[in-house]
């Protein structure tokens, strides 16, 4: 071999070594972690069945985005590691749920949870995790923590997701939910505006029920023959009935509806008078104010139509739950654009981490500018994203929800009827 051929071959060999060396090093950074995680799990008596990083290679298919790992334990049970950012602070709540061979929760370990003490689940209820022990996937009688509703709901959802990952893949049997539990879990889905629910006393065929703390309506479990139904009555007296599969059976359950409406009528607080006074103050020259029934189970406590001159408007009084219950008034013109928005209590200064320097809601002028910024928005132009204000996120998110609910009610008003 000539000298230049020798050096050419040597150069190519060195280049190949360098390229593959770099590739092996780079790939090693990724694979070493996977291998070391697996070995650590094995040494702890766990066999990895699922890893989010290698989800495509797992034989478990029904696993949602919040589940990071699933291990099989030596005793026949399972461990599910999951995480969510649906907490109050938006920080990551990571937990590890262990389940025994019979599908009952044997332990829950919190790996990370950033909420400050004022909103911390475990500061509010130190025994909250204990309420999960021994429960199957139905999570019967497990509630959320008052004062930390958002984070404890995120916690409960995460535990439910963990158990569902095991049941839906046939690793454990699914728990059976009672009708009462099914109905209670249906309420947020069918009536998202019913906030701060408190139980009511059973009477007649009403076996169980809740009153919305923001006066948006009632959720009642009513017996009719052998079957139970969930009857929802909103603040305007509109009723909807659902069976235990979540199907709308209002048309065939008029007696259930009548009983629910009768119960609600004697306990429902009316906001119509206060709404009328507010409208007259808010919209100069408002006349022909008529209250209507909006067929929606959102945050609305009163809905009205009125005129200013020749122009027609719809008005909604909503009571969303921000840091606390707020009163929001939304007026929408005939074209579907917001004509006016007002909020009775914008900031609960004494309870917030209120930082005047970093919040542009400090002065009355700033708050007025915030409210006026909604004017002209329609269902197509309102996204709500740029309406969230730092340090007042809960209040501004609640206002956004109220606006969405008002638009939804406005669109469904074709089915609304004028009060007799």
């Amino acid at each position: 071999m000539k000298l230049n051929e020798f050096f050419r071959a040597l150069t190519i060999c060195l280049a190949v070594v360098l390229v593959f060396g770099a590739a092996i090093y780079g790939l090693g950074l990724h694979t070493d972690k996977i291998i070391s995680d697996r070995e650590a799990a094995l040494s702890a008596g766990k066999e990895e069945l699922y890893s989010k990083e290698n989800a495509a290679l797992s034989t478990l298919t029904s696993v949602n985005e919040f589940i990071n790992k699933i291990y099989k334990l030596e005793d026949g049970g399972y461990e599910v590691v999951s995480a969510t950012t649906n907490t109050y602070s938006g920080g990551e709540l990571a937990i590890s749920v262990t389940v025994d061979a019979e599908g009952k929760i044997s332990g829950i370990t919190v790996e990370s949870y950033p909420d400050t003490p004022a909103f911390n689940i475990f500061e509010k209820d130190p025994n909250y995790i204990e309420t999960y022990k021994g429960k199957d996937s139905a999570l019967a009688d497990v509630g959320v923590v008052s004062g930390s509703t958002i984070s404890s709901t995120a916690f409960k959802t995460l535990v439910a997701d963990s158990l569902e990952a095991l049941t839906s893949n046939g690793l454990i049997g699914a728990g059976v939910k009672s009708d009462e539990q099914i109905f209670e879990e249906l309420i947020p889905e069918k009536a998202h505006g019913f906030a701060k629910l408190s139980p009511i006393t059973a009477e007649g065929n009403i076996t169980l029920g809740w009153k919305a703390g923001n006066d948006t309506g009632f959720a009642l479990v009513i017996k009719n023959g052998d079957a139970g139904y969930l009857a929802l009555v909103n603040a305007m007296g509109v009723c909807k009935v659902y069976d235990n599969t979540g199907a709308d059976v209002t048309a065939g359950q008029s007696t259930v509806c009548d009983e629910a409406k009768a119960y609600a009528a004697k306990s429902q607080k009316s906001y119509d008078d206060a709404h009328q006074k507010k409208l007259e103050k808010l919209m100069e020259g408002a006349s022909d104010i008529s209250f209507i029934k909006a067929d929606t189970f959102a945050n609305i406590v009163s809905a009205a139509t009125f005129k200013v001159g020749e122009e027609s408007y719809n008005a909604f009084h909503l009571r969303p739950n921000g840091y606390d219950i707020m009163d929001v008034y939304v007026v929408i013109d005939a074209s579907g654009a917001i004509a006016k928005l007002d909020v009775k209590t914008m900031i609960f200064e004494e309870e917030y981490y209120f930082d005047a320097a970093s919040t542009n809601l400090t002065t009355a002028e700033q708050r007025s500018a915030y409210k006026n910024s909604f004017a002209g928005l329609t269902v197509d132009t309102f996204t709500g994203e740029d309406m969230i204000i730092a340090k007042a996120t809960m209040s501004t998110k609640a206002v956004n929800q109220a606006v969405k609910d008002a638009f939804e009610a406005f669109e469904t008003l074709g089915g609304g009827e004028v009060n007799e």
């Binding site: 071999m1 050419r8 071959a9 190519i12 060999c13 190949v16 390229v19 593959f20 694979t31 290698n54």
Partner: protein, 198 residues
């Protein structure tokens, strides 16, 4: 000899009996056989692409070390991926997976085909070679796993419980089954090969 005959003559683990050790080692169950097959196909295709692209600039007498380095590099990457994502198969293949880097199956393809032809023909040959190698291993694995272990794809078959031949699952069984498969293939392919060569 046309291109097709060239391909068929070169099927490893068949006419040239290249890679018999790999077939023996990797064919005691179907999962391992398919895993080894996938590794061989990947190593063959990737190294064929690189070698066919570089063969004109590599001096004749420097080819052996260059080819070995390229093949070893790809086999190392494949081993790492299999150990991370398919640990069960990687464990069952053991050292035979890493030993692919010095396999005559891959080196023959690199030297005879990729080192003398363009990328497309090299890839085509690599895929055909790898697929045939995988099919032979899978057939051997199917026979050995079914009759030797009374199982299919890792699942024990209850009705085979009393009818297994343990020897077939061992090394001797590997060679025996490979020999039988080779004999059957030779029987059906010999005449045709002669006809094509004539």
């Amino acid at each position: 000899m046309n291109k097709r005959t060239h391909l068929l003559r070169g099927v490893p683990g068949l006419l040239l009996v290249l890679g018999a050790g790999f077939v023996m080692a990797s064919s005691n169950n179907l999962k391992a056989a398919l895993g080894m097959g996938a590794a061989v196909i990947a190593a063959l295709v990737l190294s064929s692409i690189v070698i066919s692209a570089l063969h004109k600039i590599i001096p004749q007498r420097g080819k052996l070390p260059c080819y070995v380095l390229i093949i070893t590099g790809f086999v190392s990457l494949i081993c790492m991926l299999m150990e991370a994502y398919f640990p069960e198969i990687a464990n069952s293949l053991g050292v035979h997976l890493a030993a692919l880097s010095v396999s005559a199956v891959i080196y023959r393809d690199a030297d005879e085909i990729a080192g003398k032809s363009g990328e497309l023909y090299a890839i085509e040959t690599a895929v055909v070679t790898g697929l045939f190698f995988t099919v032979i291993m899978a057939v051997c694995a199917l026979i050995r796993e079914f009759f030797g272990s009374g199982a299919f794809f890792g699942n024990k078959l209850a009705f085979m419980k009393d009818y297994t031949v343990g020897t077939l699952a061992g090394a001797f069984g590997g060679y025996l089954v490979l020999a039988i498969v080779l004999a059957v293939i030779q029987k059906f392919s010999k005449n045709k090969s002669y006809e094509e060569e004539e």
